[in-house]
């Protein structure tokens, strides 16, 4: 039955016109019959008509009642309200446009930022039950090492001894030279065989690793990413079983992953098993480079697993002397991936929330002003019989219409903003590249729209419904109410806007100063005209037990590079400054005062460099000398330290001539020595050089120990590294010489690609890109907030001017000059602004410390920034108040007094 009812109602609603006509006709017919009856009885026709109508009892009301039975009242009313609202807005286009635009800005910006927060922080990882994944790490807190990788034997120990995990897997990155065709360098990762099943991922083609492939000898198998398979292997289904030459060795392709699979990051293109030969140095307990991920057993929490691994660390500390001071930690995997950016993003979300709030407040004010102007109209409606609910609904409809328009525009704007952020955001925000608008975000938008509609729609509506009818309908009653309370709420709203805007402007100001400070940080070298690249020699051609090959390669390479016209100096190092690549730590002992226990042996950053490295970068020599071509393997072994190392290890003495070595004293590792007469080669310090910013401009320099690359061929010395970063000082634009450099590399080894080709200026810029990005965002928000606050002030002052026109007219008639009127109005604006600024400063003082993680070189309460921001805001307020005050001052008092 009920469906029939609904169906008829809908039909009536849709075929509104026809239903009306039919009803009309039906009732008319009835009256005709009635008339006929009277006529039949002999009553004259006219009288008959009158009688018939009387008996019928008011056709209009009957029709109305029929309509009620027939239609969906509230929907029809809503339709009427909507049409009315549309007409209103069409009449006042600028108001509507301003309000809708304001709302769109607020909703659009906050939705865009929330999308980013959702895509980066909140979205679950694309693995099976990602909330059960845990990231494991090691640390040596006594030595000040907060985070380091696992050594392979330690990882095995965790896998065996734990009670918390279903499975444990390790992984570490390795760039791979793929040859056979165009040589290409591809980011790859070595993983435990069980990694894929731990993640719940399987190959789209072929299979992933089996346990047996971790055994050295069986290990030359590789799984490709979908992208690599398409790009380099022609998306052939027959690729399984084919071989690829990776780092000079033949690997068999056993699988291809599905298109959207990524681990641990999107740029990784191939996966190989973790596998080391029995005597391999890398597989010892003191080489910490493996990252670990584990899956929790059912019912085990992250905290419990943390306790578990910490106790395993303590056991290992006692059992193995290399593990002295070892600590381990477990944390939720998603947090470990995105943790670093979390504070910044949360701060951003806060900022954008403030912008949304300001936008809503602005629109509320706009609507309040307009609604007051309609008081007369609404009183008439009430007098004509509209219930209070009806009036409220009618006013709300405007708010709903506005809200929907604003939200629609806002969503479009946010989609565009997300694209923008993806395109220009710093590349190291994880998962940013796959962020998009999704369901959660749309819910957020809908929610924030509803809240805004509620905020600025309901309040004025409720206010108005309490209108005093008699007051507004009185003769001579002004069409604008001078309701003091209404004025108050508007003022408060504007002051709130100014307060919030000031906080944002201060935040933007602090970031601006941070960026400026960072740009002035001395990197420690001359970064201009530097071409940088990496050359990674494959293990097979340049094996570890024949370090002379790698040493000779780079030596020859440097010589030939310097012969290229346009190249001034060429140098190479195992680590790249600013970019923070390469480099590893080693134990460090000063022969004169060695540590007594392994746990007390400090660490130092170890660098192998070519002799022209210093000159290429322009690092100053502070004491002694740098390496010369004479520091080859046969001569006494030398080393150079940087200023930080000197301060740490030789605070009160001259380090020149002192003997040091990159290892612990032999007596502390007696039972671990590779051979009974093993001695870490002693190096003589021949120089002290200036500090260089190793990873970005914010981190202070760390102690560094430099050794000549060529001396890697000496007995028992660390072998010359086959993976070096090149720095080439050029006369002109560095990028012009890329091809020449590549040609030189390939003239020595035709199969050798060069990778990560760029300039040092690019690294510098990149290191600043997070700050620049934050600044642009905050700057944009601050700008929006400022504009909105200005509009708000303008609106309120205009309104107050209109209210007080009468009063101003009287004043001017009584002799006040234009300047006096201007002064009065302007003072009002400045008072509001001043209150807002004062409150804003107080609020900012309490709040800016939340962003101290983003700041550098400037305090969160920096006086200069606060003062500057306040000044800017007061200026904007003054200008915004000036316009309407000017208008007030210019009015003709007679005209004003005559109206009303």
């Amino acid at each position: 039955m009920k469906w029939h009812d609904i169906w008829l109602r809908l039909k009536a609603l849709v075929l509104h016109g026809r239903a009306e006509r039919e009803l009309d006709e039906e009732l008319r017919a009835h009256i005709d019959f009635e008339i006929e009856r009277y006529v039949c009885r002999g009553v004259p026709r006219e009288e008959a008509q009158r009688e018939a109508m009387k008996a019928f009892g008011g056709a209009a009301r009957v029709a109305e009642e029929c309509r009620d039975e027939r239609g969906i009242r509230w929907l029809e009313d809503f339709g009427k309200d909507l049409r009315f609202a549309c007409r209103q807005f069409r009449k006042q286009k600028s108001f509507f446009a301003l309000a809708a635009l304001t709302l769109a800005l607020g909703i659009g910006a906050s939705t865009a930022i929330f999308s980013v927060v959702n895509g980066v922080l909140l979205r679950p990882l694309p693995y099976r039950h990602p909330d059960r994944l845990v990231s494991l790490g090691c640390a040596e807190p006594s030595r000040g090492v907060r985070q380091m990788g696992f050594a392979l034997p330690d990882l095995d120990a965790v896998a065996e001894r734990n009670h918390s995990f279903e499975s444990v897997a390790g992984y570490f990155f390795r760039d791979v030279n793929v040859t056979g065709g165009t040589p290409e360098n591809v980011p790859g990762v070595h993983v435990s065989a069980n990694l894929f099943s731990l993640l719940g991922a399987s190959a789209a083609l072929g299979r992933t690793f089996s346990r047996s492939e971790e055994r050295f000898g069986n290990h030359r198998v590789v799984v490709l990413s979908d992208a690599l398979w398409r790009r380099r292997f022609g998306a052939r289904l027959t690729v399984l079983g084919e071989t690829a030459r990776l780092n000079g060795e033949l690997y068999r392709i056993i699988g291809v992953m599905p298109p959207h699979f990524q681990f641990p990051a999107r740029f990784v293109q191939l996966w190989m098993p973790i596998s080391f030969a029995l005597k391999d140095d890398m597989a010892t307990r003191d080489n910490h480079f493996i990252s670990a991920i584990a899956r929790l057993k059912r019912g085990v929490s992250v905290a419990q697993s943390r306790t578990d691994v910490k106790s395993i660390a303590r056991q290992l500390d006692k059992e193995f002397s290399e593990n002295a001071g070892l600590d381990m930690d477990a944390s939720d995997y998603l947090t470990s991936v995105v943790g670093e950016v979390r504070p910044a993003l949360v701060i951003l979300l806060g900022a954008v929330g403030v912008v949304l709030l300001i936008a809503c407040v602005n629109v509320a004010n706009l609507l309040l002003s307009r609604a007051s102007a309609r008081q007369r109209e609404l009183s008439i409606r009430t007098a004509l019989g509209a219930s209070r609910g009806r009036v409220v609904r009618q006013v709300m409809t405007e708010a709903i219409l506005l809200g929907t328009a604003g939200a629609g525009l806002g969503v479009a704007l946010s989609a565009w903003l997300v694209q923008l952020i993806r395109a220009f955001g710093p590349g190291d925000i994880p998962r940013l590249e796959t962020t998009s608008i999704d369901v959660r975000v749309l819910v957020f938008t809908a929610g924030s729209t509803l809240v805004s509609v509620f905020l600025f729609g309901l309040a004025p509506a409720m206010d108005l419904a309490r209108v005093q009818i008699s007051e507004s309908l009185k003769e001579g009653g002004r069409s604008l109410s001078a309701g003091a309370r209404a004025m108050w709420s508007r003022d408060i709203l504007v002051v709130a806007e100014v307060t919030l805007s000031l906080v944002l402007v201060i935040a933007a100001g602090l970031l601006l100063r941070t960026l400026e400070r960072l740009q002035h940080v001395d990197p420690g070298f001359q970064p201009d005209h530097l071409l940088t690249m990496a050359v990674s020699l494959p293990e097979t051609k340049y094996p570890q037990n024949e370090p002379a090959k790698a040493a000779r390669f780079y030596d020859e390479l440097m010589k030939r590079l310097e012969q290229i016209p346009g190249v001034r100096v060429a140098g190479a190092s195992t680590a790249m400054p600013i970019a923070g690549w390469g480099g590893w730590g080693k134990y460090f002992t000063v022969e004169e005062h060695p540590a007594s226990r392994l746990a007390d042996v400090p660490l130092i950053q170890y660098r192998e460099v070519t002799s022209h490295y210093l000159r290429a970068l322009g690092i100053p020599v502070l004491n002694g000398r740098f390496f010369t071509d004479g520091d080859a393997a046969e001569r006494p072994l030398v080393a150079v330290i940087n200023e930080s190392a000197r301060r740490r290890f030789f605070p009160n003495e001259n380090p020149l001539g002192k003997r040091v070595y990159p290892g612990p004293p032999e007596f502390t590792i007696r039972n671990l020595l590779p051979s009974p007469d093993f001695r870490t080669p002693r190096l003589t310090i021949v120089g002290v050089i200036g500090d260089v910013k190793q990873s970005g401009l914010r981190q202070p320099a760390e102690p560094e120990l430099f050794v000549p690359h060529l001396q890697g061929t000496a007995k028992d010395n660390e072998a010359s590294s086959p993976y070096m970063h090149l720095v080439i000082k050029t006369d002109t634009d560095p990028l012009r010489l890329v091809n020449a450099a590549r040609a030189v590399v390939q003239s020595i080894d035709p199969d050798q690609p060069i990778t990560h080709v760029t300039t040092m200026d690019h690294w510098l810029e990149k290191s600043l890109s997070p700050q620049r990005f934050q600044l642009s965002l905050f700057g944009a928000f601050a700008g929006i907030a400022l504009a909105l606050a200005a509009v708000g002030i303008y609106g309120v002052i205009s309104y107050s001017v209109r209210l007080r026109m009468h009063e101003m007219g009287i004043r001017m008639a009584l002799g006040a000059g234009a300047a006096d009127v201007l002064g009065i109005i302007l003072k009002h604006g400045l008072k509001l602004g001043g209150a807002g600024v004062a409150l804003g400063i107080a609020l900012a003082l309490g709040v800016t410390h939340l962003m101290s993680s983003l700041l550098f070189g400037v305090k969160a309460t920096d006086a200069l920034t606060f003062a500057g921001a306040s000044f800017v805001l007061m200026l904007v307020i003054a200008l915004a108040s000036l316009a309407p005050s000017w208008r007030a001052a210019r009015t003709d008092p007679l005209r004003v007094l005559r109206t009303e």
């Binding site: 039955m1 029939h4 009732l27």
Partner: protein
């Protein structure tokens, strides 16, 4: 829309009368009211203002069905007829009415 107070009882009764009148064949609105008036010997005068809303209500409940036709006067009129479910409803309501009046009768007799 709810019609409160004094019309409640009459509303239910009017529905019953309309359904019964239509049992004998389709009629248009005026004819229904005329017939009721006739048979009740002018005792029951259907207020035209309640007739049409009632007809629309019954139509919405699916108990009567309407279609346009030509009336005795030669002009178009909307004819209503009883549906199957309308017949069932008529039975139910007649039954209820009978019990209702019987109960009132007993009270008047014996109280």
């Amino acid at each position: 829309m709810k019609r409160h107070s004094r019309l409640d009882l009459l509303q239910g009764t009017l529905d019953l009368l309309i359904l019964r009148t239509l049992e004998t064949g389709p009629r248009h609105g005026w004819a229904i009211s005329d017939r009721i008036q006739q048979i009740s010997r002018d005792v029951l005068q259907v207020n035209q203002g309640s007739l049409y809303p009632a007809l629309h209500r019954l139509e919405h409940r699916g108990w009567i069905k309407a279609e346009w036709g030509i009336s005795e006067l030669g002009r178009r009129a909307r004819f209503y007829r009883l549906t199957t479910s309308g017949r069932k409803q008529l039975e139910r309501e007649t039954d209820t009415w009978a019990r209702f009046t019987a109960a009132i009768g007993r009270v008047l007799e014996m109280a």
